[in-house]
């Protein structure tokens, strides 16, 4: 494990540094949007800030965290050295260079296009080139994960791959599929336009290619949280995983149904027929299946733990769970946020309801709750769980950790629930300020101020999180070795090859993608649509 600690810590600290900066920006944005911050900052500054916030949270925090966590899992779950460590470091530096190259145009006001790649608005080419470098770094990580699992399988024929590694590779395979869409959009459309090589751009094609990436990228961010649910939470709670097979099925279903569904982000777009949208929405419904499987399996695992600890009756096992442990606490809080966020997501998915909430703050609130809430709180829990292993030191007290998790939960609920509400009342998104003197808009004011209070709590929590980890580096107490991963109730002795690899599932993904995206993309080549004039942010 030597040196791999440094590799993991380097990734995690880049991720968390970006996270803290983005948390400061996010709180500032909530202030500017509220009646209290009227006339603070120009729209130009606001959109610059939103771009930096989105890029940091969605691309830097996630990608670096997932890469670092993947290396950690590959070494600890497979219990063997990481193959290609030099490549891993190269990937780190490439991705970090990408971050620097992206930040410069944002800071100079040449990248204020938010974190979505929707032409004809285009940023400086460096903004996109930097992000391509981040993705290239993550591709190297994907290959290393696949190679690590293949090497383990070669040396352990017929044995089931440990679930944590199986899930990590599922994520790597999914990410390779996912990034094809945005890579094609950037390399063949957006970057040539940003460089001035072309003056017009096919907006419909660009949006379609981005939708290819848009939903699956969220599951790329989400899967580490699910890895923690299946492989770390049952152990932390003092129980066992209810079903290893359920875990494998869940990650396979994520791989299959995250990809051919992105067009539910284009329900209001004119460039696709109703049938295409219908098919992708139907497949979107199946994305909820792995989440429902997970809620069932993890609740069952926690019940096993609660009953082992002496909990009785229908709900007594819940009280008996060790809620003082950060991983268990984060799971409980994360499930509550996942519940609210999940139901919100089902509303976004329905065509008629989507039409009502599509361009409102509802959508922004939804992804903050489900990603910033249930996913990021599990990032915290994972970091807290593995930091003693990475640093060799032990926490003096778990109280600041619990406080931080509670603050994050409360802050996120206080921020996002009123945010959903004003979205339902029609508050639009992607605007810098509101005219609270307008009698219709004035009613939103109090709700937005409550959201701002939630944002302030989140900022305190974010700083406390970084402080908790930093303090551990200086702590005297040495960590005792302890098991990381949960055992299943019935540890798998052998599993069908289909549940131990991805060959079959890759074929099925290809079939689904051809059916879901084949004609919708081909139509742009068969009969090119009118193109739009590139609008460059300078």
């Amino acid at each position: 494990m030597r040196n791999v600690e440094r590799l993991c810590l380097a990734h995690f600290w880049v991720a968390f540094a970006a996270f803290v900066v983005a948390a400061v920006l996010g709180t500032w944005q909530m202030w500017v949007r509220s009646p209290l911050g009227a006339n603070v900052g120009t729209p130009g500054q606001y959109f610059m800030s939103v771009t930096a916030h989105g890029v940091s949270m969605a691309y830097v925090l996630t990608t670096f965290f997932i890469m670092g966590f993947g290396y950690f899992v590959a070494v600890t779950a497979l219990n063997r050295p990481l193959p290609g460590k030099a490549w891993a470091w190269a990937a780190f530096w490439i991705a970090l260079l990408g971050v620097v190259v992206t930040v410069i145009p944002i800071a100079t006001g040449q990248g204020s296009v938010l974190f979505t790649f929707y032409p004809p608005l285009t940023a400086s080419a460096w903004f996109y080139i930097g992000l391509v470098l981040v993705v290239v770094g993550s591709w190297i990580w994907c290959v290393l994960m696949i190679v690590a699992m293949a090497a383990w399988k070669r040396d352990n024929p017929g044995r089931p791959v440990p679930l944590a590694m199986f899930a990590t590779v599922a994520n790597a395979v999914m990410w390779l599929w996912t990034t094809i869409g945005v890579a094609v959009e950037l390399l063949f459309q957006v970057i040539p336009a940003a460089l001035g090589l072309v003056q017009t751009i096919d907006v419909g094609l660009a949006r379609t290619l981005f939708s290819w990436t848009l939903h699956a990228i969220v599951y790329f961010w989400l899967i580490p949280a699910y890895i923690a649910f299946y492989t770390m939470v049952p152990r932390a709670a003092g129980g066992r995983l209810y079903s290893d097979t359920m875990g494998r099925l869940t990650f396979i279903l994520f791989l299959i149904y995250s990809l051919p569904v992105g067009m539910h982000h284009l329900l209001m777009d004119p460039e696709h027929g109703n049938a295409t949208k219908f098919i992708q929405v139907l497949l979107t419904a199946f994305v909820s299946v792995p989440t429902l499987l997970t809620i069932f399996t993890i609740t069952a695992s926690l019940e096993i733990a609660g009953r082992l600890r002496g909990g009785r009756g229908l709900f007594g096992w819940i009280a008996a769970l060790p809620w003082d442990r950060p991983m268990v606490l984060a799971t409980g809080l994360g499930f509550v946020m996942l519940g609210f966020g999940g139901f919100g997501g089902l509303i976004n998915m329905g065509y008629g309801m989507n039409a009502m909430v599509h361009n409102t703050a509802w959508v922004t609130a939804h992804f903050h709750l489900i990603f910033g809430g249930s996913v990021v709180i599990m990032y915290f829990a994972i970091a807290y769980d593995i930091w003693p292993r990475l640093t060799g030191r032990e926490y003096a007290s778990l109280a600041p950790l619990r406080l931080q998790l509670w603050l994050w939960f409360l802050g996120m609920m206080i921020m996002t629930l009123p945010w959903h509400w004003v979205g339902l009342q029609g508050q639009w998104r992607r605007v810098a300020n509101f005219n609270y003197a307008d009698p219709i808009i004035a009613g939103w004011g109090p709700w937005v101020i409550v959201s701002l209070a939630g944002g302030a709590i989140l900022l305190i929590s974010a700083i406390l999180f970084a402080a908790n980890l930093l303090m551990l580096h200086r702590n005297r107490a040495l960590a005792l070795p302890r098991p990381l991963y949960a055992l299943a109730v019935h540890p798998p002795q052998r599993v069908p090859a289909a549940l131990n690899g991805f060959g079959l599932w890759n074929v099925l993904v290809l079939v689904l993608m051809l059916a879901a995206y084949g004609y919708p993309i081909a139509q742009f080549l068969i009969e090119p649509s009118p193109t739009a004039i590139v609008h460059r942010v300078r």
Partner: protein, 277 residues
Amino acid sequence: MSDDTRHSEPNVLDQSWRTWSAVAVVGIMLSGILLGALIIPIVQGRGAGLDAYTAICRALGIIPGSPAQPQPSDRTPPTPVSQVIWTPDVLQILARADVRRGHEKVQEVCVSCHGETGVSIAPDFPHLAGQSGAAIYKQLYDYRTGSRSHPQMTDIAKALDESVIADVAAYYAGQPQRNPNPVTLAEAPAAIVQLVELGDPKRNIPPCAACHRAGSGGPIETPVLAEQRQEYIVLQLKLYASGERRNDVYARMRTIAAKLTPAEIDGLAAYYRAGFR
């Protein structure tokens, strides 16, 4: 159980996994296609008075329109305020403009009012030095088609053909702007600066700087206002406010100018005369 027997993969079990998972995934997909591409459009199309073939083609996106609604009529064409359309062809004409020919035409025609380098001779005539080429092109073209009118400019523009307009626009666009005067920059009142940078949400006035700023902010035809003649800006805002000038797409400037007070019009014109901060 010995290690060897445990390691042998159960092929029979594998085969059924492969078969049934493929059947399930493909079956779900096919039922989606059956519902979304056949059954729903046929049923919806019946309600909208469409035959099954048209409805299915519409659902698939092969022909435009929704299978659930008859195509809306387009018998009442809109009357555009400007004939300029930024097609790739027009952009090509602008990109291929010849600055030398533009210079010759300027010396022949424009120089008497707008000056050889784009510095105008009188307050009523706008400076053109460093103006956006697309903005000059749009205004000349609008004069030519009658979207905008002026006692002198209308006749002059009608005598120029499209490529010459582009040449002149490119020539003036290439002339350097003068430096803003730091003394006047300091003088802008806070209320005017706020109007430029934040607008006035209470009156639904967007910030001027959302479009008129260093570099491009608004649509391609947005003119550069920095260091423009104060009197000229005042006149144009008043013409927009009264509706006398009406070649602004979506009536953007007519809507905004009508809400400005005379003092604000003067203040904004003075602000932009001085340049940018």
